[in-house]
């Protein structure tokens, strides 16, 4: 099980979602990915993308302008 981080800061939606999708395609089931972003829209869109594609959001953390969304890759 690997832990990966994706820097999506300064990207505006839907780019953080697209980059998340591309990264998840390279990962294995059970791996975790932390996406760091600054667009508040990502707080809604990345969990929505996880829901429709069957991945699990583990937690969302916001510190000032930065948002970290940690997700687990699940069987699609």
């Amino acid at each position: 099980m690997s832990e990966t981080t994706l820097d999506a800061r300064r990207m505006l939606c839907p780019m953080p979602v697209i980059r998340t999708q591309e990264k998840v395609e390279q990962l294995q089931v059970g791996d975790t990915l932390t996406v760091i972003c600054t667009d508040p829209g990502a707080m809604h869109d990345i969990p929505a993308w996880c829901r429709v594609n069957g991945h699990e959001v583990i937690d969302i953390d916001q510190q000032d302008e930065e948002i970290s969304i940690r997700l687990r890759v699940c069987e699609e």
Binding site: P14, V17, D39, W49, V52
Partner: protein
């Protein structure tokens, strides 16, 4: 039991694609969605930038549609490839710089490539004959099918009964009798079907999902091409056209002036790529200078910057200039009066 046939639906986030996908889902077809990001999509960006919009609930409509349908959604970045569609549209532009017909052909072509890679059987769109003046007409429907290479693999469930039967219909994968014959600009049949399916709160069908259909945006893009002497753009260029007040006081440079805190913050992210200026004696905008500006140009820009600061009525305003290369320096200027700024400087 055999595997169901599989279709990919082009999901814009609007009502028509939602309904088209639902109609086909109801016939036992496995549907997944595909959404293309061109860089010109209205979705998201301006909401993320402007502070006043941040309080409003935000959602990506394509993802919302996918959730309503319970389908997977694949969002595809086509920014680079899409440039050729915008710059050289074979079928020309609509009222503004919107290459709607070429755009639809391109997206269906990309969807065709996608279904070939993923082993899907056909493509669905929410097109309706007569709904859009450029791309959704009876005579353009076969053009899209043919030039995209999709041919009979492209099914438009909302107006299929007004078109020649497609492969999924001929093969009996879907029942043509349970498809629709919507036509024209009226939205009533779609709204009635949405009510029948129990869909509420869908994105209002205003036809404004692309900045290229916007007159002001197209004016700014034309100006960008004219100033550069060539028709090209990068993603940052087209993002910046969505932000701030744009003024071109001289052919060799343009100013991008933040209108509020959210925009100033966004423009701040570009400060290393552009010469920029801020007022220091009064609160004011962050201003990017796009182009090559000499000393006199910068002084003019400083006066305009002062005009859009809280020091607009002051005798003198201090403006700090941060050249892209070179040392930061300050100038003291008299703010330009509103009447001194010719209307044609505003893009």
């Amino acid at each position: 039991m055999s595997e169901p046939h599989k279709a990919v639906a082009l999901i814009s986030g609007g009502l028509d694609s939602l309904l088209a996908a639902k109609v086909i889902q109801q016939q036992g077809i496995h549907v997944e969605g595909i959404n293309f990001f061109t860089g010109f999509c209205v979705e998201g960006h301006t909401h993320a930038i402007r502070k006043k919009d941040r309080a409003k609930p935000k959602r990506n409509n394509a993802l919302w549609v996918a959730e309503q349908l319970g389908i997977k959604l694949h969002i595809v970045d086509i920014i680079e490839e899409y440039k050729d569609v915008v710059i050289n549209p074979k079928h020309g532009y609509g009222a503004n710089l919107n290459p709607c017909l070429d755009c639809k052909i391109f997206m269906v072509q990309k969807a065709k490539e996608w279904i070939e890679q993923k082993g899907f059987d056909f493509i669905i769109t929410g097109e309706v004959i007569g709904q859009r003046p450029m791309s959704q007409r009876k005579d353009t429907m076969p053009v899209i099918s043919h030039e995209s290479g999709a041919e009979a693999l492209l099914l438009r469930p909302l107006c299929a009964k007004n078109l020649e039967p497609t492969l999924p219909e001929l093969e009996g994968w879907v029942d043509r009798e349970r498809l629709y014959d919507f036509e024209g600009r009226t939205r009533k049949p779609q709204m009635a079907l949405a009510a029948e399916f129990g869909f509420e709160d869908y994105a209002q069908p205003a036809g404004g999902c692309c900045f290229l259909t916007d007159k002001q945006y197209s004016v700014k893009l034309s100006d960008l091409w004219q100033a550069r002497g060539e028709r090209r753009y990068e993603l940052d260029d087209i993002m910046l056209l969505k932000v701030g007040r744009h003024l071109r006081p001289r052919p060799n440079f343009k100013m991008i002036i933040g209108r509020e805190d959210g925009e100033n913050k966004f423009l701040h992210g570009y400060r290393k790529q552009y010469t920029h200026m801020v007022t220091t004696s009064h609160n004011g905008p962050l201003v990017l200078i796009d182009g090559e500006a000499g000393a006199e140009d910068l002084e003019l820009a400083a006066r305009i910057t002062a005009r859009f600061s809280q020091g607009r009525d002051a005798g003198q305003v201090d403006v700090e200039i941060h050249p892209r290369e070179g040392d930061v320096h300050s100038v003291q200027v008299q703010p330009m009066r509103g009447a001194e700024i010719p209307a044609d400087w505003y893009l």
